[in-house]
């Protein structure tokens, strides 16, 4: 894992002290809210419906046990005993007092964490594949590059006041688990014919009120040009991105309005100017950062296969969990484990302080002290010996975190929605809970197979509904909540934006409507191997519209 150097320590400490002073001056009345609001946002502090909210950065979703224990400590000491893991691999606390936040940030700084750039029109926390450094299908670990981007983008003087927020995601595998095509910049780390590392570069993806899939502007960018090329993109955006209309200010709109060809020309022209300047990455620097991310020494554990097989025979629930929540590792004696934060009927992404502590202990004892947060709001233990899976399962079961549903219909992404969020128009959590309970039977979920269901409580789409195989968007209509269904979205290497299927459903109707969609799929799939998305792409929306709206669909 990356370890702060002297500069990082001083930088975060100085920023913590600076913000503590700003909070003190605000509470003393020396700063007005208008003066203070941009300062608090730069430090991850929002004001929500019930209280302030603090969003803590978890760079590329990577945590040590010590860091996770600190998050548990903060939940217990300053908040209400839980935290919410977000769709950008961050963690949010929903109840901190403003007066406690300087101390919380000091506690975070003591474990090399902060809340910088988790808000504002700057380059946000860089996200990455949650199986990075472990997945068997990976070309190279994307996190060193995410870390290089983090260092470069932290309080970047030129890019701290962009037209709008800016999100970068990196993946190191063909199978895109980081949803790079719905980010402002998506980087796909790959090798060229000569075996050299570089990136396919995607620009201008995003969700929100105008969902657009990123355009590929470079098929292969040498790794040494990562920062120069990123700078070129941001310069073109910073200069030409719209500042007259908040809703048209993201780079996706610039790409759309300028055209990919012309925008690429502008980026390449800027790149040509600066390519051989100070931002060119020396191999020694890349190597130095990569060393921080060297995989742990994994001793041979050949007994794993036999231990796992016998445990599966003895315990079908364990077998289900292995099938769903265990991902292949580069080392065949090992695996990556998804710890589902989607217990049946639970709040997606929430974990109690005790659960965080317990996962930290588990990681320290059996998983090389490493935890990941996935953008799908689960936790990951990236390096686990297959021989230890049975023990891990047993211990997760004891803390209510052994739900075998990764990738199934109850593994729902949901934003906090109207239960917490000041921007929301409708609740998300309650809809997620009801759907989870409806489909909670293990046998039924497995029969349905892979199905990504994502819920947002407003058009800002924090719940990624546009790329859900089934997406649900909550809106407010005449004072009541109404839920629109989209179908056929996907956030992987074959990204697609879901299509709105028809008129919305009330809170009372939405779970039945989702069940109708699922039952329609089950009736029309060619066989069990054809998952929901494949079936939808084959047949289109018509059968689903017919099932949902009947005669009304024909009339339309």
């Amino acid at each position: 894992m990356y370890r702060y150097d002297e500069f990082d320590h001083q930088f975060v400490k100085a920023r913590t002290a600076e913000f503590a002073d700003q909070v003190e001056r605000r509470l003393a009345g020396e700063l007005t809210e208008d003066q203070f609001k941009p300062l608090r946002l730069m430090n991850g502090v929002y004001l929500q419906l019930h209280a302030y909210m603090l969003r803590i950065a978890i760079p590329y979703g990577t945590l040590s046990s010590k860091q996770l224990r600190m998050l548990a400590h903060i939940a217990r000491t300053y908040d209400k005993g839980y935290g919410h893991f977000t769709t950008r691999q961050n963690l949010q606390f929903n109840w901190p007092a403003l007066s406690d936040i300087p101390q919380i940030l000091a506690d975070l700084a003591s474990v090399e964490m902060h809340a910088l750039q988790t808000s504002g029109n700057c380059i946000r926390n860089v996200t990455a594949d949650h199986f990075a450094g472990a997945a068997s299908d990976e070309v190279a670990d994307p996190r060193p590059y995410a870390e290089i981007l983090r260092q470069w983008s932290s309080v970047h003087p030129e890019f701290s006041f962009l037209p709008r927020k800016f999100k970068i995601a990196v993946t190191g595998a063909e199978r895109d688990r980081a949803a790079i095509q719905v980010h402002d910049i998506g980087l796909h780390l790959k090798k060229n014919a000569a075996g050299e590392l570089g990136f396919a570069v995607y620009v201008g993806g995003g969700q929100g009120r105008t969902p657009l899939i990123a355009k590929k502007v470079r098929d292969f960018l040498p790794e040494e040009d990562l920062l120069t090329y990123t700078t070129a993109i941001l310069r073109v955006y910073n200069l030409n991105g719209r500042r007259d209309n908040k809703y048209k200010a993201r780079i996706k709109i610039l790409v759309h309005e300028t055209g990919t060809e012309e925008l690429t020309r502008q980026i390449e022209a800027e790149f040509a100017e600066i390519r051989n300047g100070e931002l060119k990455l020396p191999q020694a620097d890349i190597d130095a950062i990569e060393r921080y991310f060297a995989p742990p020494a994994l001793p041979d554990r050949p007994e794993g296969m036999v231990v796992e097989a016998s445990a599966k025979l003895a315990n079908p629930a364990f077998a289900s969990w292995v099938k769903r929540n265990v991902n292949p590792h580069k080392n065949p004696d090992y695996a990556s484990v998804t710890i589902s934060l989607k217990g049946i009927g639970e709040v997606p992404g929430d974990a109690t302080d005790a659960q965080m502590d317990a996962v930290a202990d588990l990681a320290e004892e059996l998983a090389f002290d490493e935890i990941r947060v996935s953008h799908e709001q689960n936790l990951i233990l990236p390096h686990v010996a297959r021989a230890d899976l049975k023990e891990i399962y047993k211990r997760l079961e004891a803390i209510g975190l052994a739900t075998a549903n990764a990738g199934l219909v109850t593994d729902i992404i949901a934003c906090p929605g109207l239960d917490y969020c000041a921007l929301a128009n409708a609740r998300s959590i309650s809809v997620a809970q009801e759907i989870s309970n409806r489909f909670g039977s293990q046998a039924r979920q497995e029969e349905i197979g892979e199905l990504k269901l994502k819920i947002s409580g407003c058009i800002n789409a924090c719940g990624h509904h546009h790329v859900g195989h089934i997406g649900i968007l909550g809106v407010e209509k005449k004072g009541t909540e109404l839920y629109q269904i989209t179908l056929g979205g996907s956030g992987d290497e074959n990204t697609s934006i879901g299509e709105i299927v028809g008129r919305g459903f009330t809170a009372e109707e939405i779970t039945d409507a989702i069940e109708t969609v699922v039952e329609t799929y089950l009736a029309l799939r060619t066989d069990k191997a054809e998952d929901f998305l494949a079936a939808y792409r084959r047949v289109g929306a018509a059968p689903f519209k017919q099932a949902l709206y009947g005669a009304e669909a024909k009339a339309a």
């Binding site: 809210e33 419906l49 007092a97 403003l98 007066s99 005790a354 588990l362 004891a398 959590i429």
Partner: protein, 119 residues
């Protein structure tokens, strides 16, 4: 009919303006404006509190009276007045029951230093 709401500066707590210009943590005791003049009076008092750095995010909220009690027209405001609908153990709704603010976690918190995670 309208009432004036805000969030308290120090901790973000949702509060409502009362007739005596104090800020209450419960919606029930908010002063109700039934005419434009009273609305203006509420807003003036709110802006004064804003200037004194007591509260932030002022808003006039549309309400009905249901069985004599204040009932905000928007669900958003009803949730602000009660707490998250999925966690009735949290927020204002939990305060009617002493010690109920954290019932889901109190037990876990108590054994936090020696968590037993054996099956």
């Amino acid at each position: 009919m309208k009432i004036l709401t805000a969030n308290r500066l120090t901790d973000g707590e949702a509060v409502w303006l009362c007739a005596d210009h104090s800020w209450a943590e419960t919606i029930d005791v908010a002063e109700i404006a039934r005419d434009a003049a009273t609305e203006e009076k509420l807003e003036r008092a709110g802006k004064a509190a804003l200037c004194k750095n007591e509260v932030v995010d002022l808003a006039l909220v549309d309400i009905d009276l249901v069985d004599g009690r204040i009932w905000p027209k928007r669900l958003r405001e009803r949730i602000r007045a009660a707490g998250p609908t999925n966690r009735t153990d949290l927020g204002k709704q939990a305060r009617a029951f002493p010690g109920a603010e954290r019932p889901l976690h109190a037990e876990e918190g108590a054994r936090r230093s020696g968590i037993s995670i054996a099956a």
